[in-house]
């Protein structure tokens, strides 16, 4: 058996070990690399930055706990930018598993930092089943769909909600998601009500949404942890995404190295076998 055959039959546990080391190594030896800002991220940042002071912005937490590593830094950075600009933030989720809890935990933490008051500066609407009806229904009346907030307080008792009736009162919608709900925010809310929608999605989902950026139906896009890291830099609040970039870099490089090694070994082994057949 040649060296190339041995490489091709490499035990997968060695690969798992290499991935583990690539993740652990930056924790021991910190490394920093310059993060360049892509136009899609800058577009999202600028869209929020250009909103008038005290504008109402809807921020969604449409993600499951499994993708927190990619999506939560986006929500945190978004809240930082929105509260820095004194925007009124309306949060909600279309994901039943964890969405309301994540929204509550993240929003309260960031709001505390900026001394924002619940009900005055931000409101968490929570979760309602059947997202298509929820998205469409809020175009007529948010209160009809969400009579109370996440903790059961009637919306009529929250000062911030007195001036927010439907999408007409919302200046921008920031969708942070790990699932297909983004399509509905575009096709229902942006297309039918003309509200600008920007989004932060997982890296595997991001390529799909370039078509919405191209058609100007989406105003800015954060793609995966890299998008979140770029956004953190623009907001000037470096967090988990910037920290995670080194680990992601090493794992990407490892995968690229393994693909190259696998191909070299594959073709070298095939050539050796062909030579062997001739003799």
């Amino acid at each position: 058996m040649s060296i190339w055959d041995k490489i091709l039959q490499l035990d997968r546990r060695w690969i798992y070990l290499m991935v583990a080391l690539a993740v652990i190594f930056p924790l021991i030896v910190p490394m920093t690399f310059k993060i360049y800002i892509t136009p899609e991220v800058r577009q999202l940042y600028n869209a929020i930055d250009s909103l008038p002071d005290s504008s109402v912005v809807m921020l969604t937490f449409d993600y499951y706990p499994s993708t927190l590593a990619e999506t939560e830094p986006m929500s945190v950075a978004a809240l930082n930018q929105l509260f820095q600009k004194n925007c009124k933030v309306l949060t909600l989720t279309t994901v039943p598993l964890g969405g309301p809890s994540i929204a509550e935990r993240v929003t309260r933490k960031i709001a505390k930092k900026y001394h924002k008051v619940y009900g005055v500066d931000y409101v968490n609407l929570g979760y309602k089943a059947n997202y298509v009806a929820v998205l469409k229904g809020m175009g007529t009346s948010i209160e009809a769909i969400y009579p109370t907030d996440n903790s059961g307080t009637p919306l009529s008792k929250l000062p911030m909600m007195k001036h927010i009736k439907n999408y007409n009162d919302i200046k921008f919608i920031f969708v942070v998601s790990d699932n297909g709900i983004v399509d509905y925010w575009i096709s229902i809310v942006n297309a039918q009500y003309g509200i600008p929608v920007g989004s932060g999605v997982t890296a595997v989902m991001a390529p799909k949404f370039y078509s919405y950026i191209g058609s100007k139906q989406m105003t800015g896009l954060l793609g995966g942890m890299k998008g979140a890291a770029e956004y953190e830099i623009l907001v000037k609040e470096r967090g988990m995404a910037v920290k995670g970039m080194t680990m992601q870099s090493l794992v990407h490089l490892l995968i690229i190295g393994l693909v190259i090694l696998g191909n070299v070994a594959f073709f070298a082994s095939r050539r050796n076998h062909k030579k062997g057949e001739h003799f």
Binding site: K34, S66, A129, Y210, S211, T246, G262
Partner: protein
Amino acid sequence: MRTVVPVIIAFLSGFIMIVAFFFNPDKTILGKIESEVLVWVTIVGGFTLLLGVVSITRVNWQAVKTKKKGWIYNFLTLLSIFVMAIPAMLPSSWSPFFGDSSGSVYDWLFNYIDAPMMGTMFAMLAFYIASAAFRAFRARNAEATLLLLTAVLVMLWRIPMGEAFLRLFSDSLPQMINNYVMNGVNLAVQRGILIGAALGAASMSLRIMLGIERTYMGKG
């Protein structure tokens, strides 16, 4: 009767939603009906969640009762559902452990068991992807080679170290990948898929409204 009534409901619901789009919801009866229907849909959606819980309880309870192979997992599923749901449904005024606010049983279980477990499952993908990429990603023909090269370029572009490496060749290389790969070829393909899927969804909706498509009633 069992076929005609659902078809009529499906037709009317779809028809109202389509036609009402062209009317002001505040000033016309049709618009008001649309708003009302949308509230109904969210209520029905809530009941479907309840139906899901009833269904999962029945299936798992049956397996526990008959001591089916692996019944312990069915038991754990039931235990997880009720331990998480019951304290969350009880009013927080009774105890700080009830409800779903910070400090409740639900919140604790979610933050310290559910979220880490789901995160772990997702993180394990990195190990499988690395192993699969090593074994399966081969430049066997022109198409596969093109895919492989594009994947490598995009993977490099999406990381700071990779971008720094690409900039060694040309400062405009990362921008070119963004312009020609993501906003070029990728955009065109994704748009084609989206338009195809949207046309498919529209035709399926029409089939349901006209009663041609009846699989949702359990009929072919």
